[in-house]
């Protein structure tokens, strides 16, 4: 019997080594696997390269991992945000390396790794400083630059529901990088709101097939959904709205 579920988040991050490259899903806070990141901080791995679209928001999740001094290098498209003060401070102090990748190239390089593509030519970034030093080729009259895959030792992602085979469905735009990252890591770890019975996810609607997934752990469900239905009552950070009397 295949059972990829693990009992708790500490089990989900067992074995992550110092110096690892770790993909972390999410676009801003949407889809960020905060509980897994908290467990990673607790687990202690350091000297990490993190691949994620952003470089942390506020003081939780990826921002907390950065604040704990565990990250040597950040690979992302958009580190600078209104609430990225942790990263900003580290960067200005020269305590973190940064590689900026255009967002679509980031997604496609991750996808390429998962799909076994050796490299690909992308039109994005041609003639800009982000393509400096990269091999360029003109194909059918259009300029392209050579981009290599990005793979990882571990992917930490957040989905909505999963089963013991690792089949996953997501919720709305919290899907973002989850499916491509799941395919591009040696070990893919997923936090879900709910582990459901095998067979209860509609095969027509499975977004990430379990072949890409190694560990599934249930975490405290998002508070703005109840019994599968959106109930609201939270702010954009998922915090409960203050009750006005």
């Amino acid at each position: 019997m295949i059972d990829k579920t693990v009992a708790g988040v500490p089990d989900a991050v067992v074995g992550i080594r110092d110096g690892s490259t770790i993909m972390i899903g999410g676009f801003g806070r949407a889809g960020q696997p905060v509980e897994l990141i908290d467990a990673l901080i607790e687990q202690g791995a350091t000297d990490l390269t993190i691949v994620s679209n952003n470089a942390g928001n506020g003081d939780r999740g990826l921002a907390a991992l950065l604040a704990a001094g565990r990250v040597r290098r950040m690979v992302c498209s958009f580190p600078r945000q209104h609430d990225s003060w942790v990263f900003d401070g580290l960067y200005r102090a020269g305590r973190i390396e940064l590689e900026i990748v255009p967002q679509g190239n980031l997604a496609e390089r991750i996808r390429a790794a998962g799909a076994g593509i050796g490299a690909f030519f992308s039109p994005t970034g041609v003639g800009t400083e982000l393509a400096a030093g990269k091999e360029e080729r003109v194909i059918d009259g259009r300029r392209y630059v050579l981009e290599y895959p990005i793979r990882a030792d571990v992917a930490l992602i957040s989905a909505y529901r999963g089963d013991r085979w690792g089949n996953l469905v997501y919720r709305e735009t919290a899907r973002n990088f989850g499916p491509v990252m799941a395919s591009a890591a040696v070990t893919t770890v997923v936090q879900v709101d709910e582990v459901v019975e095998l067979g209860s996810l509609d095969p027509e609607c499975v977004v990430t097939p379990g072949i890409f997934v190694d560990r599934v752990v249930a975490v405290t469900p998002r508070r703005w959904v109840r019994d599968g239905a959106f109930v609201g009552g939270v702010d954009i950070d998922g915090e409960p709205l203050a009750v006005t009397s």
């Binding site: 498209s77 600078r80 200005r92 900026i100 994005t124 735009t173 954009i236």
Partner: protein
């Protein structure tokens, strides 16, 4: 009166988007265009974080943290909407499936080069997001911007001095003073706003306009 205000310009851009178009509105001023799309027309908004059929901001109390736009603000999904992952989303751009994207700009050159992601200022933290992908992928890349910076410098230039976002990618520029098409011969004035004249635009931009 010398030109159009922000909202009027957004309205003017919205008028040029045909029904049936798939459209991406960049972060900042271009998002205003969404407020002016004619209610009766089906124009489908794309947000690069994985949604086609994006609707307006939700009512307070109905904010869904899983449902946001590229600016990470809460949005809604209209009937007929679709979610997809990031590689598919950027495939829609790169693959030329989007009809129009509207972007902000620091500078646009007369050959259609765009600079909108970095001023190159020392010490600034670089952040590109999806700007380069959008610039290189949509069938029509329109820029929405004031003609002049706060210091009175023209944003239309012979050559960009800021780091480029894309080369030869802009097809049209909507400014508060006029609409310009980018042609093989440089900027061509398509429409003047207010009492703006061609001669005045040539003086302000120091460019030969047609």
């Amino acid at each position: 009166m010398t030109g159009l205000g922000r909202a009027e310009l957004a309205q003017r851009i919205a008028r040029d988007i045909p029904e049936g178009s798939y459209v991406n509105l960049g972060i900042g001023a271009p998002t205003l265009v969404a407020n002016h799309l004619p209610a009766g027309l089906e124009i489908i908004l794309h947000t690069e974080n994985g949604l086609l059929g994006m609707g307006p901001a939700p009512e307070p109390g109905l904010v869904d943290p899983d449902l946001i736009n590229a600016g990470k603000q809460p949005v809604t999904a209209l009937p007929g909407a679709a979610y997809f992952h990031h590689a598919d989303s950027f495939g829609m751009m790169r693959g030329g499936h989007l009809d129009v994207c509207v972007l902000g700009a620091f500078q646009v050159s007369s050959s259609g080069d765009l600079a909108n992601w970095s001023t190159g200022a020392p010490g600034a933290i670089p952040a590109v997001g999806g700007a380069m992908d959008l610039a290189s992928g949509a069938k029509n890349v329109w820029v929405m911007t004031d003609l002049l910076t706060r210091d009175g410098a023209s944003k239309l230039v012979a050559e960009c001095s800021y780091p480029l976002t894309g080369v030869g990618c802009v097809s049209r520029v909507y400014t508060d003073r006029a609409i310009f098409d980018v042609t093989p011969d440089g900027f061509r004035v398509r429409e003047l706003f207010g009492d703006t004249t061609l001669g005045e635009l040539e003086r302000l931009t120091a460019l030969d306009l047609t």
